[in-house]
């Protein structure tokens, strides 16, 4: 087996506990499929060289985590530091609870073992230590913010796992604020189950820093339930997001609105999938990448409409801005439509900043720098058009403005 496998998933067992069985099952899958390599289609733009070069040495000094960043809207904060949550520091609103994950919460049979594509999700399970379950029983008004941070000198590999369960007719705004630090690996799994008629607004604001930041998210959407993601990602040394939204029952809705603003040598790789398993169902996806300097942005948006999922409707649009000669963007809509009574539209553009627009802004008094920033911001902010105005939208847009 590869050196990477030996380093990240050594045969040596973690201390025996309720997860031991699961871990060894996952380890087997991982050993069988191995990590992605250059010929793994889903990973071809994101070489693992960086991860291969890292030692992931040493144990983590948990210590006292630093205070999480303050947020300018009323919310309940769950702080995950170096992959661990301190439950005593967590106050959740009524109708929501956070408990430790138990082995029964993980349905191994439902996990996809698709060659090396999902290796990191299996790795997460193979090295599972702490896992958490957020259960939402009713319509919770206050947003719950999961702040994930790592130390600036963090060099280890952590594999946090969070399951979110929404009861029928419940509602939640879940905000993930993720800030990387040192040259380690933060390999998270997020597993969301939405019951009938529940609604989830899922916002992600991320900057990976030097940390290899990998997250594998699955969302299962039941009848009449509504999932919407709003994502702003500044990338990092290596940032990879898999987001699979499975519309499992009639009238399920799913939407992904995302923007990556990249500079320096940042790398972001988004692989999203929206699967229509029945109709009627509806999905929408808008994704934008702005890549400056020597940054690399990857977007692969898969839309699947299975046979018989008639009356499914999907709409995907991706836009990309190349801001420097050395930046790279790879964008690919991937439509697999196996039903007939459906609509599925897609569009993808790659362009540069418009000189006419820049001149127009400058002729009104904005400096070249201000004009460029405003154009970038305008291009990026358009993905949040569907987000209701309010403190959360204001905050996301402010964050975006600071990155434009």
């Amino acid at each position: 087996m590869s050196a990477l496998l030996e380093r990240l998933a050594p045969a040596a067992e973690l201390p025996r506990d309720g997860f031991t069985e699961l871990r060894s099952q996952a380890q087997k899958v991982l050993m069988q499929h191995g990590f992605p390599h250059r010929k793994t289609e889903n990973w071809k733009y994101t070489p693992l060289t960086l991860i291969e070069q890292r030692a992931f040495a040493g144990s983590l000094d948990v210590g006292t985590p630093p205070a999480p960043p303050a947020l300018p809207f009323d919310c309940a904060v769950v702080h995950m530091h170096n992959g661990e949550i301190d439950p005593s520091a967590t106050r959740l609103p009524r109708g929501a609870s956070l408990t430790g994950l138990v082995a029964d919460d993980v349905d191994v049979d439902a996990l996809v073992a698709d060659g090396p594509n999902d290796a990191f999700a299996w790795l997460n399970l193979a090295r599972l230590g702490q896992g958490w379950k957020l259960v939402v029983d009713e319509a919770v008004k206050r947003p719950i913010v999961v702040v994930s941070t790592v130390d600036a000198d963090f060099e280890g590999a952590v594999h946090p796992r969070l399951h979110v369960e929404l009861a029928p007719d419940s509602a939640l705004t879940l905000v993930a604020v993720q800030t990387g630090g040192g040259a380690g690996l933060h390999n998270a799994v997020l597993d969301i189950r939405m019951s009938e008629r529940s609604t989830l607004l899922h916002a992600i604001d991320r900057s990976g820093g030097d940390t290899a930041w990998i997250e594998h998210a699955t969302v299962r959407v039941a009848a009449g339930a509504d999932y919407r993601a709003f994502i702003s990602d500044a990338g990092g040394a290596l940032t990879r997001q898999d987001l699979r939204v499975s519309l499992d029952a009639p009238n399920a809705r799913g939407a992904i609105h995302g923007v990556a603003t990249l500079e320096g040598r940042a790398l972001v790789d988004y692989h999203t999938a929206i699967e229509h398993h029945v109709g009627p169902s509806e999905s929408k996806e808008r994704f934008r990448i702005l890549a400056d300097d020597r940054a690399t942005g990857v977007f692969n948006g898969r839309i699947l409409i299975v046979p018989g999922a008639d009356d499914s409707h999907s709409e995907m649009n991706t836009g990309n801005l190349l801001l420097s000669e050395n930046a790279r963007i790879n964008t690919k809509p991937e439509l697999e439509i196996h039903a007939e009574e459906v609509t599925a539209s897609h569009g993808a553009t790659i362009g540069q900043l418009d000189d006419d627009a820049r001149f127009y802004l400058r002729s009104r008094g904005l400096s070249e720098r201000e004009a460029t920033a405003l154009l970038k911001y305008g291009f990026a902010a358009a993905v949040f058009d569907d987000l209701e105005p309010g403190p959360l939208a204001d905050w996301l847009l402010e964050r975006l403005k600071s990155r434009a």
């Binding site: 418009d354 000189d355 006419d356 627009a357 001149f359 127009y360 802004l361 400058r362 002729s363 009104r364 008094g365 904005l366 400096s367 070249e368 201000e370 004009a371 405003l374 154009l375 911001y377 305008g378 291009f379 990026a380 902010a381 358009a382």
Partner: protein, 254 residues
């Protein structure tokens, strides 16, 4: 206010303006007419400082200052405004936000205080109302989804808010119906005073009928070939530009 001397301008290596002279005093309105391809829009872009419009000879003095040394935003802060023939759509950038950012950038460059946001909104609303534009446009992206007429009127709103010393209107009348044309003309006329000057580039007499410019010039093949009062515009309307070929051009700038 503005003095253009023997101006030669190249675009993509091709000479478009070939020795243009023009002097505009404070408070004056000058109309520039001329056939397609005569260099009218090039003059507008050159004044505003667009990249790619290279001055190869001559100079432009704005209040005694050589414009060639100034970036577009510096020209704006100095009091120059160009209403574009084709106003640009800026998706995702809110109209009100953009206009306030522009005004504040200009004020900052001039060492003035930022504008009070309530006073700003009030001023913009008044302008919108005067130009019969929906207030909802303020919240929309700049020019995005605007009709042709709305885009042109939006230029006038911007001009009224930014209060330039010299406004260059590049075919602001093109594509306007008669009602919109009147609104635009009234908007321009409201801004006229003894200090503010205008250059109105147009194909048609119609707008000039409402604006009553002090001087009318004919631009042909990169030079002013004829200057006169308003009656010149009327003659052009009647006879077209054909008569220009029959008369010897003035030895402009010689």
């Amino acid at each position: 206010m503005l003095k253009i001397e023997n101006l030669h301008v190249e675009v993509d290596g091709k000479e478009i303006l070939k020795g243009l002279d023009l002097e505009i005093g404070a408070g004056e309105m000058h109309a520039i007419m001329g056939p397609n391809g005569s260099g009218k829009s090039t003059l507008g872009y050159t004044l505003a400082g667009r990249d790619g419009y290279e001055i190869t000879e001559g100079r432009i003095l704005f209040e005694g200052q050589d414009l060639a040394a100034l970036a577009p935003e510096e020209r704006a802060a100095a009091g120059l405004f160009l209403a574009l023939q084709y106003p640009v759509e800026i998706p995702g950038v809110n109209n009100a936000y953009f206009l306030r950012a522009a005004l504040n950038a200009q004020r900052k460059a001039r060492g003035e205080e930022e504008v009070d946001s309530m006073a700003f909104l009030k001023a913009v609303r008044e302008q919108l109302k005067a130009l019969k534009m929906d207030e909802a446009l303020l919240k929309r992206a700049v020019n995005e989804g605007f009709s042709g007429g709305e885009k042109k009127r939006n230029e006038i709103v911007q001009m009224a808010v930014l209060q330039p010393k010299l406004a260059v209107l590049d075919e602001t009348d093109s594509g306007l119906d008669i009602d919109a044309l009147k609104l635009v003309a009234e908007g321009v006329n409201r801004l006229r005073d003894e200090q503010r000057s205008f250059v109105v580039i147009t194909h048609y007499q119609r707008l000039l009928g409402y604006l009553e410019p002090d001087h009318v010039h004919v631009l042909s093949d990169g030079r002013i070939v004829e200057s006169g009062d308003r009656s010149l515009a009327e003659r052009l309307e009647r006879e077209g530009y054909a008569f220009l070929d029959d008369e010897p051009a003035e030895a402009a700038g010689a």
